[in-house]
């Protein structure tokens, strides 16, 4: 039945080389009006590269693009937009102007297209922005600077901007990575609605559950080539096989050793100022999951534990020793390792090598006399790279040369290098493919000497990695679930229901 719809956009043998790297090795696919085409693949499979070629921001090195059967050369985003193709790029921060207001960001494509005239007035911009935001961006101040928004709000701004031009083809590159379940569901509904109105949608995600929920058809990429094509009804297992080329994608759930001694003990803490008291305990070898909708206070709680923001209330102890960090330094000294939710902004050092990125929190360990020993660093990091399964050319490879999943492994792995007692991971799986996700989950679960707290707003992820799962809403813990007895769908409902009163209030 999908076959009789018109093909609005097609890639014909599209190849892309970045010097020695082949990002795409001759990909052909067709996108039809009124369908949602899923595009899946491991980190580095070439999804974003294809997206960029379809959006006119990269030129293919071989093959070509067809729009409604006509061969076109898309030399800029502007030309793609004229051809009816609108793209929401994966890297949100690359796509927004941080010091400009939300309104200015929303109208940027219109401005480029000249749709606001040569002399756009401030009022005109504000009005257009309000129209675009309409009811898609509740709670977002149009005059706020984008840099002051949280990562999910930035993502929502970008999606709203993409939807605004009513394109005939909409390409969404991992639009839900930073969204919470309710927002994801809202987006799914929007996407289905657009498809029903005849828009062709390309939907990229690492969450196979999502593809099952929204896609009519899925193309899996592997190493820059099409590794399989599937039509609804979709089967997540088969997709996973196609994506990974056969690797088992789930972390083996080891039986929980709850007998370990208490590492983290939190009593009477508050996630948000004036919020309800939070009590929790984490034992050695245990992985505590915290989930909840966006804005439920997960990040704020975790950041207090890591010394990133001041502790609001209550007492915290680590290994029985009272702990009230005033700076990340204090937390690190107490054996706490923290992986922030925004990797690019808060964890990565552009241009640095893998080795230097790994050793940063615990440099004292590599000191021989007054100076750091390169040899000691390289030896230690080479071992670690092997243990973590980081795919890179060696300790001296630049961090930028790694795929997203591998970068995340480095950012998590630095705390293994530092021998942390308590690992705190905030959204560690954002933009990470299912294979790497399983690797990281395995790492975390295998860290028997440490206790781990993982926050994620994705039910699927949290169930995969955690031994116990707490559900947060509005700064308080509203429930606990056993990951062995609950499925993702149920947990998502639980999260949404727990937060619902806020929306009606």
């Amino acid at each position: 039945m999908t076959e009789d719809r018109t093909v609005v956009l097609a890639a014909r043998g599209v190849g892309k080389r970045f010097g020695e790297t082949t990002a795409l090795a001759g990909v052909s696919l067709e996108v039809r009006a009124g369908e949602v085409l899923g595009l899946v693949g491991a980190n580095g499979a070439g999804k974003s590269t294809l997206t960029k070629i379809l959006s006119g921001t990269e030129a293919p090195t071989s093959g070509h693009v067809e729009v409604r059967g006509r061969r076109v050369r898309l030399a800029s985003a502007e030309q793609a937009r004229e051809a009816g193709i609108e793209t929401v790029h994966q890297d949100v921060d690359a796509a927004l102007v941080p010091d400009a207001s939300v309104a200015e960001n929303l109208v940027l494509p219109l401005l480029v297209a000249g749709r606001l005239g040569r002399f756009p007035s401030r009022r005109r911009i504000r009005a257009e922005a309000a129209r675009i935001a309409a009811d898609r961006l509740p709670g977002v101040d149009l005059d706020a600077a984008v840099e002051d928004l949280g990562v999910s709000d930035r993502q929502r701004v970008l999606i709203a901007r993409g939807l605004a031009t009513a394109p005939s083809v909409l390409v969404l590159d991992e639009p839900t990575a930073a969204l919470s379940v309710d927002e994801q569901r809202a987006l799914h509904a929007t996407v289905r609605e657009l498809a029903a109105q005849g828009t062709a949608v390309v939907f990229i995600t690492h969450h196979l559950g999502e593809t099952v929920a929204v896609c009519d058809r899925v193309v899996a990429l592997r190493d820059g080539a099409v590794a399989g094509e599937f039509a609804a009804p979709l089967d997540a297992k088969r997709l996973a096989h196609a994506i990974l080329g056969g690797l088992e994608a789930t972390a083996q759930r080891s039986e929980v050793a709850t007998g370990g001694e208490v590492v983290l003990d939190v009593a009477g803490a508050q996630a948000l100022p004036g919020g309800p008291a939070i009590e929790l305990v984490v034992r050695r070898g245990e992985v505590l999951g915290i989930t909840g909708l966006l804005g439920s206070g997960k990040t704020e709680l975790l950041e207090q534990l890591a010394g990133v923001r001041p502790v609001l209330a209550g007492t915290i102890s680590i290994d029985g020793v009272p702990f009230r960090p005033a700076h990340p330094v204090d937390a690190i000294a107490a054996g706490v390792g923290f992986v922030p939710e925004d990797r690019a902004r808060a964890a990565e050092l552009p241009g640095w090598s893998v080795a230097d990125s790994l050793t940063l929190p615990d440099l004292a360990r590599y000191r021989r006399g007054p100076l750091l020993s390169r040899r000691a660093e390289d030896r230690a990091t080479a071992d670690l790279i092997r243990a973590l399964g980081v795919v890179c050319s060696g300790p001296r490879a630049a961090i930028e040369s790694l795929s997203g999943g591998n970068r995340q492994k480095v950012v998590v792995g630095r705390w293994f290098a530092a021998g942390s007692r308590l690992l705190i991971l905030d959204e560690p799986f954002r933009g990470v493919d299912i294979g790497a996700r399983a690797d990281i989950a395995r790492l975390v679960r295998g860290a028997e000497a440490a206790a781990t707290v993982v926050a994620s707003s994705d039910p699927e992820e949290i169930l995969e990695v955690a031994d116990r799962v707490l559900v947060m809403a509005d700064g308080g813990i509203v429930g606990e679930v056993d990951p062995r007895t609950v499925d993702a769908e149920t947990l998502a409902d639980l999260m949404t229901r727990a937060a619902r009163p806020q929306e009606t209030a």
């Binding site: 959006s55 006119g56 921001t57 800029s76 985003a77 502007e78 030309q79 793609a80 937009r81 793209t87 790029h89 921060d93 690359a94 796509a95 927004l96 102007v97 941080p98 010091d99 400009a100 200015e104 940027l108 494509p109 401005l111 480029v112 297209a113 000249g114 606001l116 005239g117 040569r118 002399f119 756009p120 709670g139 101040d141 005059d143 706020a144 002051d148 709850t258 009593a267 004036g274 919020g275 309800p276 008291a277 009590e279 929790l280 305990v281 804005g295 116990r468 707490l470 559900v471 809403a473 509005d474 308080g476 813990i477 509203v478 429930g479 606990e480 727990a498 009163p501 806020q502 209030a505």
Partner: protein, 356 residues
């Protein structure tokens, strides 16, 4: 096991209202802070004008105020160019050299080659524009980082301005290496620097026009907005379809053009082609543009602030001279005032940011 049973919210329970960072009600204190941050430098400027006016009656006369504007006109025009290149997240170190070589080429056109005022002005403006274009192409096409590229051209054109005359200055009556001059600084030309219209010096009029044009360009035109978007995030602008390369080149062309305009006015003011005259204009123009960051709480390049920054420096120097402060105290006082204003502004900014 969790120690405490999570308290499930009772249905219909009223939750604390969601915090809205932008719309939060402001305390009077934070309003004052806001005002200090936004208007700190303007208030200081006004205060200085009042103090000078009271202590030295000659200060607050139309003539003197116009003199101050005249004294900063060239710097401010060059600084507006610097502001445009900063807006696109670039940096143009070559503006001083551009002023130098424009002055020399304009003077040579008039005196050595006898081309007359119209052609001389044109040659000056074209020179600046071409240098801007060269900078832009080096940066965009040859991919040399902005500071490095303009550092290189800074040397090239500073050197070039000396080469034209083998290091000599050009005055009416002095031809190339002893040859007879073919022309001179005509009155029509020097009028641009020394004349006035209804008592307002011509360079001041030019400054006003350029200021309005640059502000309108940056704030109210499509190209200007896109240019600032490129400055805010080059990749975002590209992904949105903007022609980033062209816009960056445009910014350097504007910067070069304005430096060229500054050079033409300077030649007309001095009525001669002084070698190396532009060298000081780099630091002065950058200073004005940087001080402009602190105006109206912008904390980024902005044309209005730049002009205020230039005027601030002009007022301080003029006022101190009038009060007979020794010249060697002027830098010091100017620096103290600036540091004071900056500390007050930015500490207020910090509190403002922290307070929300």
């Amino acid at each position: 096991m969790t120690r405490t049973a999570p308290t499930a919210p009772a249905p219909g329970e009223v939750l604390p209202p969601p915090r809205e960072p932008g719309a939060a009600r402001r305390s009077p204190l934070s309003r004052v802070r806001d005002a200090i941050f936004r208007y700190g430098l303007l208030i200081l400027l006004a205060a200085l004008v009042v103090v000078f006016a009271v202590t030295q009656p000659a200060f607050f006369t139309t003539f003197n105020l116009l003199s101050i504007l005249l004294s900063v006109a060239v710097v401010a025009i060059v600084a507006l160019g610097v502001t445009v290149s900063m807006s696109v997240d670039g940096f143009d170190l070559s503006v001083g050299s551009t002023v130098s070589i424009t002055v020399m080429l304009t003077a040579a056109s008039l005196v050595y080659w006898g081309l007359g005022p119209v052609l001389a002005v044109l040659i000056g403006l074209v020179t600046g524009t071409v240098i801007g274009l060269i900078n832009g192409l080096l940066i965009v096409v040859a991919r040399v980082p902005d500071m490095l590229a303009t550092l290189g051209t800074m040397f090239v054109f500073a050197g070039g301005s000396l080469l034209i005359t083998a290091g000599q200055s050009i005055a009416s009556g002095s031809g190339y290496q002893g040859a007879a001059p073919k022309g001179s600084f005509t009155d029509a030309f020097t009028w641009l620097g020394q004349g006035d219209v209804l008592g307002v010096p011509v360079p001041v009029i030019v400054l006003v026009v350029v200021t309005v044009a640059v502000i309108l360009f940056l704030v109210r035109t499509r190209s200007g907005r896109l240019l600032r978007a490129v400055g805010g995030n080059r990749e975002a602008a590209r992904l949105a379809g903007a022609r980033v390369g062209r816009l960056r080149v445009l910014a350097y062309v504007i910067s070069g053009f304005l430096a060229g305009l500054g050079g033409v006015l300077l030649a007309a003011r001095t009525g001669r082609g002084d070698v190396n005259v532009g060298a000081d204009y780099l630091l002065q123009a950058v200073s004005a543009a940087l001080i402009g960051f602190a105006v109206l709480g912008a904390n980024r390049p902005n044309a209005f602030g730049t002009v205020v920054g230039a005027i601030f420096v002009g007022v301080v120097l003029n006022g101190l001279t009038m009060l007979n402060a020794p010249y060697y105290a002027q830098d010091f006082v100017q620096g103290l005032l600036l540091v004071g204003a900056l500390v007050v502004s930015f500490s207020a900014l910090f509190n403002r940011k922290a307070a929300r």
